[in-house]
């Protein structure tokens, strides 16, 4: 085996790409398996930086990254900010709850006003599905999707995959059960796409009222039975249930939801012996997950958070390295 293949393979033997093909990260939908491997491999190196005394490298020095968050988020925004600062980028976070958007300024105008400072990259979270796609058509910066509506949350899926790979050594052939509000979850869509692309078997479980149409075409095995989903699972991922959904007649009460779908130690016994429990956060204890399980020996939930910084550093680094903004205008 030559040096090149030794260095550049994921654990399934599929080679890593040499660079990312798109100048944006709008979703997992635009990524192929070799690009996903490249991001995960790069994140390994980035993770090490967090263990040093000086947790900083000069790689993105002189680059400006704007975090444009139209939806409140402490966890994801902080994670991106730390990632950007560790790479020595200049960062600017704009939480638009109080800004021009409430005065009726459109998304396009808000971003065009930002262009004056010529950010190299814009990390954006927005309540409308497709908002980052619209941005990528109207502005020159590279766009990173930090969550759009109910569509995708690609860096979450990447850090989830990174965490799984750390524990299992691979993604292919694993049984992953994702339980919760599948209909409204962007984390579900991104994870389903990523895990099936990398050869995992993904099961989607939740109440029938919260199953997206065409779910099997999304690559998932659908079931309303938690037992069936968890049976022999290597990974169990819980999704947040929003209490507001009760008003849409999706389920009658959180008590009933927990009774039918909540992850308890009891239910977990059907999973494989070294199952790992994941949750994108924030958790509703006693709704989708029992405290025993959340704090138990199988939970890797806290690791997900710390892996988030490494994965986001990898994404920032790989996209910044494409350096095509100087040569191209918007596509």
């Amino acid at each position: 085996m030559t040096a090149r293949t030794m260095e550049r393979t994921d654990h399934t033997g599929a080679p890593a790409a040499s660079r990312l093909r798109s100048r944006h990260l709008l979703g997992i939908a635009g990524l192929e398996a070799d690009e996903i491997t490249l991001i995960l491999d790069t994140a390994e190196a980035m993770k090490e930086i967090g263990t040093r005394p000086i947790k900083k490298v000069p790689t993105l020095r002189g680059r400006t990254v704007v975090n444009l968050f139209f939806e409140p988020s402490t966890r994801t925004r902080t994670s991106f900010e730390i990632a950007e600062k560790r790479l020595s980028a200049d960062t600017l976070s704009i939480a638009t709850a109080t800004s021009s958007v409430t005065k009726g300024e459109t998304l396009v105008d808000t971003v065009r006003n930002l262009e004056a400072m010529a950010p190299d990259m814009i990390v954006t979270r927005h309540p409308s599905s497709g908002a980052p796609h619209l941005l990528s058509r109207v502005c020159r910066s590279a766009i990173i999707n930090a969550g759009d509506g109910t569509h995708e949350h690609p860096t979450q899926a990447l850090l989830d995959a990174f965490t799984i790979r750390q524990h299992k050594g691979r993604l292919a052939g694993l049984k992953v059960a994702i339980v919760g509000d599948l209909l409204h979850s962007r984390v579900l869509r991104s994870n389903a796409l990523l895990l099936t692309t990398m050869g995992a078997e993904v099961w989607g479980c939740g109440p029938a009222t919260l199953m997206p149409a065409g779910i099997d075409r999304l690559g998932l095995h659908p079931t309303t039975s938690v037992d069936e989903a968890v049976e022999g699972a290597d990974v169990v991922m819980l999704l947040r249930i929003q209490h507001e959904r009760m008003h849409g007649h999706f389920f009658p009460s959180v008590r009933e939801y927990f009774a039918l779908f909540g992850m308890t130690s009891e239910r977990l016994r059907r999973a494989s012996g070294n199952v790992i429990i994941m949750h994108p956060g924030p958790m509703n204890r006693g709704v989708e997950i029992d405290s025993d399980v959340a704090d138990g020996p199988y939970s890797v939930i806290l690791e997900q958070v710390s892996n988030g910084v490494a994965v986001r550093m990898a994404v920032l680094y790989l996209l910044a390295g494409r350096d095509e903004m100087a040569e191209e205008g918007p596509p």
Binding site: T2, A3, E7, R8, A16, S18, R19, L38, D41, T42, E44, A45, M46, E48, I49, R52, P53, I54, K56, V57, P58, T59, L60, R63, L87, A314, Y317, L318, A320, G321, R322, D323, E324, E327
Partner: protein, 178 residues
């Protein structure tokens, strides 16, 4: 492709360097080897082994990835992006004498990046540079303390060091660029 060093000559060069290290530093106190990825790392390990054979002491050895410190990192849109790999320095470098190890010394920019990276890890007492081949054409004021072979080259040539651990064979060859 003209071969300028074969396995035997490489081995003797490394042995000679090991003896020079011992002589110049009067022993191995507070000395550590740090190889620059990729090929500096196996070279550093070989030196550590040789030093251990001669002197008896274990020399701490680490691996340094300087990709994120390169000054040309964000400037080339063409070609594959260099893969970033882990740095592994499992010991404190404070007050150590660090011996940086690389296969080829050329413009000196890799060494500059390595110095920046090392200083983020701590405050070494001193840093010395070991290279297997010095091919000239420095662009920065960098000098190697220990050289396996001086190899005058033209800018149109490239020097390839091949190592058993990475490439399956030990040799140094010069290639002409077309």
């Amino acid at each position: 492709m003209p071969q300028v060093m074969d396995a035997d000559r490489m081995s003797r060069a490394l042995t000679r360097i090991a003896h020079e290290i011992l002589e110049r530093n009067r022993g191995l106190d507070d000395i550590a080897l740090v190889g620059i990825r990729t090929r500096g790392v196996p070279l550093a390990r070989r030196l550590a082994r040789t030093l251990q054979e001669i002197n008896g002491d274990d020399v701490p050895t680490g691996a340094l990835d300087i990709t994120l410190y390169r000054d040309d990192l964000m400037r080339h849109a063409v070609g594959p992006q260099p893969l970033v790999r882990r740095t592994e320095i499992p010991f404190s470098i404070d007050d150590c004498k660090i011996l940086l190890v690389d296969d080829v010394l050329y413009t000196g920019r890799t060494i500059r990046a390595a110095l920046d990276a090392l200083i983020d890890f701590g405050r070494p007492r001193a840093i010395q540079l070991i290279v297997l081949v010095d091919r000239g054409h420095r662009e920065l004021p960098i000098k190697a303390d220990y050289v396996g072979k001086n190899l005058p080259t033209s800018l149109r040539q490239s020097v390839q060091v091949r190592l058993l651990e990475v490439d399956g064979t030990d040799e140094v060859v010069i290639e002409e660029e077309p």
